[in-house]
Amino acid sequence: MEIQSIQTTGTNAAAAAHRGSADKHLIFSLGKEEFGIQVLAIKEIIGMQEVTPVPKMPSHIKGVINLRGQVIPVVDLSLKFMLTPQEYTYRTCIIVVRTRGANGDRLIGAIADGVSEVLTIAQGDIEDSPDFGNGNPTPYLKGIAKVHGKVKLLLDIHEVFRTDSVVGLNFSN
Amino acid sequence: MRDILIVDDSKAMRNFLRRALAMTSMDIGSVLEAENGLDALEKLEKQPVDVIFSDINMPVMDGAVFVGELAKMDTRRNIPVIIVSTDSSAERKAQMQALGAKGYIAKPFSPEALELEVARLMWEADDDED
């Protein structure tokens, strides 16, 4: 909408730049799969560090880390997506993303096996996520893109970290 | 370039005045603020201004006392004081004039009214200088 209206009123460098950065995706791997998230949503990428576990949370929520004085939760995406759990290596990193929470912005760390590159994937090159035939749509999958013949799964990071999908199973009783 | 002192216990009212001054075509220098007469006298001791706008009703030292006290300051007695008040009665005007106020503007005022009063006052003051 916004972009359209800008286009009709002529060229606008800022808008183009904005569109460009919206197309930029960070590609990272979880096991053998490659995923992409919008660079715009990423605050920083840090190395793996000591995670303080929080009791009574599902296994994919590893706990909390100290990000320069801020306590933020850390999620293991391999476990979250029920892929083969990966050992943490020197390549393992935490992608800190900024997402919407109930009380404003929240920061969440996502553990990835490693980041590979930043790719510009135009909106037009993104295909709808395939219907896996089980009648179970994956809301956090924004679509897929083929780059150099390889498939990248693009994530809607806000959907991935919606609180209701992260909340721990209540073990009490 | 005219330096101005605004004396009013209400910060919002001081802002109104500032805003109104900015809307005029006057060449405004620095604008000082004081919360009451006493505060104003203290500020004036450190720095002279060209015009003073003062409220009447203020705690600690009100406008009437302030005008009187200002007249006692040898170095500052010639600074014209324009009273800004909601009271537009003739008696009040006369009273403040008798105490030494040079101008009188009733609240609420328009930027134009403000400018007119200042212009009138400045040229009068210049005449007195002669």
Binding site: P55, M57, G69 | N15, D62, K107, W123, D127
Partner: protein, 726 residues
């Protein structure tokens, strides 16, 4: 510059050559030397010089002025640009915001002062302050086109002007009017604020009857009829009248006055202009005179009579009021020079200061650990520690505010409520300047309100009942605040019935909150009144409701990490002490360890610690574990079982017992070991963890690692012991 020259040209037209002699020339020249073309400066200097020497003719002056204009604006001269269309004041968000903030301050002060005045009408400086507040609001409203505000503030200002000139004494009817006006203004201000924030504005009630009431009092005062009624009205403390009753024969006049007021009010709105209220004193007098003249029974001369001296007699303590011009400074108020800062910024500052404290303590530990640190460095580190502590204190103090306004908010309620209940209450406030964290003050408002209502409803007896037991008719309710051992203690104390432990116990048994053979200390019995659904009230009033208030109180106070203590003596009265932390940002905690995990237990919920022996452990009904400690049995909670984590050992004698307390209940928490005691900055946990009971937040420990802060109440009532927990 062009503007200045145009001004000059205009003056030359009016005054001729003399215009060049004016003082303003010096400054114009000064600016011209810097900014204007050389020929302009030369011409200008020539003219000024001639003028000074009085050799400049008016004709030359006029020509000179046009020449100057021409230099600056070569023909065809562009028209002097009109100043951009100014934003009308009433649409200027910044000014509106200023108004809202200031009006709110004034309204708070009005309530506070007017209630003081009701108690002691001789407080002249309070009258002046209230007068000034209405005056300021009126002045500001004038700019913003807030006609309703202006109208009401104007009438009340007139009324208070009479009061400060001792033409009328402030009785409860006037207090009512002023409070009603303040309520109205509050709504108006809220409406402005709503407009600013784009939210739904509150419904503003009609101000016609309010205006009419104030006006009719004003007219009574002006005509000298008010004074007599005053004394009578002041006596009747329980009268809930908007306007004090007026003596019989005058009543019809009041009606006439009200009608007049109505008419002017409506015309005021139609014309959207300040017509009705620019009437000066004389005209108003005249209006009143006309109204009274319509009544043949009252001679017109009465109106002209000097303000009745009765008003002064009615208030014997009244100090002769000062002259209207206030030649003497009334009261040297220390002008508060303050800056408004967003709380979010303060929070961030507190956060960063917290980090700094930790970084500093890490540095200290490092320097202590390494043997060969230079003494000079150690000295500098100690200096850093002192500075850090000071910065921390300073940052904390920025969040502090006095508790006074909170008390004042309740003062009005006490007044309304005691009247409505037909009780006579003298409210005493103490320690109003005690400062506490802004957030705590805000969160304390509700619990305080409930507790005061509770005291008024249940604690304090009706006058007859008090007289019957030999107490004075007038009850005393005391609300105070003080600092005590790094905490704030707010107490609410009444000299009413007192709590009856037997009655509370029976009621709790009836409600199934406790069982027959449960042994409870007096404190525990008192605390039953905070249990959900408990109410000792025999009569349910619309104010206290059905016992919902008190359990909300406990929740709130515990949420603030505070606790309540009750002292009560049957027949003598009750005192509630609310102990609160100074700040919510920092707590003292015990760092404990269970397996690989470290947790922080807030020190305020820890009573004692001990290494248990085998014989202290008992098992009730084969499952619930209890600890026998100095004769009392306390439930045992093993933290590792609550959190499903691996402990170092299950054996009771290998670990440590921490006796925790909340809501007057105690239990033992079994942990592996104690690591130490530490002051920590509380960080809230992400919303992902909100479902985890037993966690209050997190903190960064001295080594940079995170410790989770335990919520003792949440851990205890998580499962198992719910039945015991009242």
């Amino acid at each position: 510059m062009l503007q200045a020259v145009d001004d000059l040209a205009l003056q030359v037209m009016l005054k001729g050559a003399a215009a060049f002699r004016s003082k303003a020339m010096a400054s114009i020249l000064e600016v011209a030397r810097k900014t204007s073309p050389a020929d302009f400066v030369v011409e200008m200097e020539r003219l000024v010089k001639l003028a000074k020497a009085k050799t400049l003719t008016d004709e030359d002056a006029r020509n000179g002025a046009s020449a100057l204009q021409a230099i600056l604006a070569p023909p065809p001269a562009p028209p002097v640009p009109e100043p951009a269309a100014p934003v009308p004041f009433e649409e200027d968000a910044e000014l509106l915001n200023d108004f809202v903030l200031e009006a709110e301050e004034h309204l708070t002060s009005i309530e506070e002062r007017i209630l003081q005045l009701e108690k002691d009408p001789s407080l002249t400086e309070a009258i002046h302050a209230v007068f000034r507040s209405f005056h300021s609001i009126k002045g500001l409203a004038g700019f913003l086109g807030l006609d309703g505000v202006q109208a009401v503030a104007h009438e009340v200002e007139t009324l208070l002007d009479h009061a400060r000139n001792a033409r009328v004494s402030v009785d409860s009817a006037i207090v009512d009017l002023v409070l009603e006006a303040a309520e109205y203004l509050k709504d108006e201000v809220a409406a402005v604020q709503a407009r600013l924030s784009g939210s739904l504005p509150p419904v503003i009630r009609n101000n016609v009857s309010l205006l009419a009431s104030v006006r009719s009092v004003n007219e009574e005062v002006q005509s000298g009829r008010r004074a007599v009624a005053t004394a009578a009205a002041a006596e009747a403390a329980t009268v809930v009248a908007v306007v004090a009753p007026v003596a019989e024969p005058v009543a019809p006049v009041v009606d006439t006055a009200v009608t007049t007021a109505d008419v002017s009010e409506s015309s005021f709105h139609e014309e959207e202009e300040v017509v009705a209220f620019t009437l000066d004193q004389e005209e108003e007098d005249q209006a009143a005179a006309t109204a009274i003249a319509a009544q043949p029974a009252v001679p017109v001369e009465v109106v002209k009579a000097a303000p009745a001296p009765v008003a002064v007699v009615a208030a014997p303590k009244a100090v002769p009021a000062p002259a209207p011009s206030q030649q003497e400074p009334m009261r040297v108020e220390v002008a508060s020079t303050s800056v408004r800062v967003e709380t979010s910024k303060l929070d961030r500052l507190m956060d960063m200061v917290g980090e700094m404290v930790i970084a500093q303590s890490i540095l200290m530990n490092l320097s202590r650990a390494s043997a060969n640190v230079e003494t000079r460095m150690a000295g500098e580190l100690a200096q850093l520690a002192r500075i850090t502590t000071e910065v921390q204190r300073c940052a904390m103090s920025m969040r502090m505010m006095p508790i006074g306004p909170l008390f004042q908010k309740n003062a009005k309620m006490v007044r309304d409520l005691s009247r409505r209940n037909g009780k006579k209450v003298n409210l005493e406030l103490a320690g109003e300047s005690t400062e506490l964290d802004k957030t705590i003050a805000e969160e304390l408002a509700d619990p305080l309100l409930h507790m005061i209502r509770n005291a008024l409803d249940h604690g304090i007896e009706p006058p007859q009942e008090r007289l019957a037991v030999g107490k004075s008719e007038m009850a005393t309710l005391k609300i105070s605040a003080e600092h005590e051992a790094g905490q704030i203690v707010v107490s609410i104390s009444d000299d009413g019935r007192g709590l009856n432990p037997d009655k509370i116990r029976n009621k709790a048994l009836e409600r199934g909150l406790i069982d027959e053979n449960q042994h409870l200390s007096e404190q525990e019995i008192f605390h039953l009144i905070f249990a959900p659904g408990f109410s000792t009230a025999e009569k349910i009033t619309d104010i206290s409701g059905r016992g919902v208030g008190m359990d909300v109180v406990r929740q709130h106070v515990e949420h603030l990490r505070g606790r309540i203590l009750i002292e009560s003596e049957l027949g003598k009265g009750t005192t509630f002490y609310i102990h609160l932390p100074l700040t919510l940002a920092i707590i003292e905690g015990l760092v404990i360890v269970v397996g690989d995990h470290r947790y922080i237990i807030p020190l305020f919920s820890v009573r004692e610690m001990c290494r248990p022996t085998e014989d202290m452990l008992f098992t009730v009904q084969g499952q619930d574990e209890m600890i026998l400690m100095r004769g009392s049995l306390l439930p045992l909670v093993r933290l590792h079982r609550r959190f499903y984590i691996e402990p170092k050992s299950e054996t009771i004698t290998d670990g440590l017992l921490v006796v925790c307390e909340f809501a007057g209940k105690r239990f033992c928490l079994f942990v592996d070991d104690l690591l130490g005691r530490q002051e920590v900055v509380i960080k809230s946990l992400d919303e992902a963890f909100k479902s985890v009971r037993g966690l209050a937040g997190s903190a960064i420990l001295g080594d940079g690692r995170i410790g989770l802060i335990l919520d003792v109440a949440g851990i205890f009532s998580q499962n198992g012991f719910e039945g015991l927990a009242a």
